[in-house]
């Protein structure tokens, strides 16, 4: 056969869809396989354990986040806070991809929290970038954390912010980064 270079992607998509529709604890291999339109054997061929599937989910998520940020950063005028802005705008962009990203974190956290260590590495690098950017570290971290908080709250379905207020908050975040850039504090 060999026509499926994207078979793994299809399975990963299915896994996210299952989590979205049925909840994190109900993401079993059988239902993911069915959703992806492959047999259980087929799924096991690509991901030999459930842990492998979970790992595949976060790794793809991280890859996708970096790719999206990469694409966005070009549209932002240069400055010390450019990367921070791009990160926030990427994480908070209101689309289904972003929603699925949160779900991936949730399933993995529920099943095998140690797999999230790779996200810790991502955050650590992010922190290093911030420290090197010349912005006030604590204040930059707070803005970055606020973005995480908003994303995570939405993923848990407990964000009380309307889309319009969310938009205003995002604008204010960008403004605060610019204040940091100008040293105004």
């Amino acid at each position: 056969m060999a026509k499926r270079a994207n078979c793994k992607e299809k399975i990963l998509d299915a896994a996210e869809a299952v989590v979205m529709e049925m909840g994190a604890v109900r993401m079993s291999l059988d239902v993911v396989a069915k959703k992806a339109g492959v047999s259980k054997g087929g799924l096991m061929y690509h991901f030999s354990t459930k842990k492998g599937l979970l790992k595949g989910m976060i790794e793809r998520m991280v890859r996708q986040f970096f790719a999206d940020r990469e694409a966005l950063v070009k549209e932002i005028s240069p400055g010390k806070g450019r990367m921070l802005k791009a990160g926030i705008l990427t994480a908070l962009r209101p689309d289904e991809k972003r929603e699925r990203m949160g779900l991936s974190i949730l399933v993995v956290a529920a099943h095998d929290p140690e797999l999230l260590k790779c996200l810790k590495d991502v955050h650590r690098e992010h922190l290093k970038d911030m420290a090197a950017s010349g912005l006030n570290l604590e204040r930059a971290a707070i803005i970055s954390l606020a973005s995480d908080g908003l994303m995570l709250s939405e993923m848990l379905g407990m964000s009380p912010y309307s889309p319009s207020l969310k938009k205003k908050i995002m604008d204010t975040m960008v403004m605060m980064i610019e204040e940091l850039e100008s040293g105004k504090r």
Copy 2:
């Protein structure tokens, strides 16, 4: 008999401990019962379904958060940002109780996300308080979100911040609230 007013509490403690030790998906009724030192039947007597147990977990968590904040707010000098400060300091106080609080959110999110709606209500009320406080709403929200972000990141084990940096970040948050109070911004 009647000596056990705290039997439910004991079970809730056990449930949190199980999540902490074994992960959210492994929190089964059998192991919670064993951990609590009661039989399965005993557990089912107090919480007739798993959903009931989960509900008990978040409800206790919310109660505890408010009680702790209530106690803390008295120690903070009056001002428009008093409640916000107390909330942040309560959510971020580094102790085991706080750690367990995050875990409760995680299990519930994994098993039955709709039970988190009560947290949405809590946040909504919090937002109303902020709007009424006279502080700049977007900026106050950002600080509050940063506190959520830090707590949630820690709960997921993906916070890259050292305790000392975390402390500095918390201090900066308090400082920013005071800037907001003085209308400097």
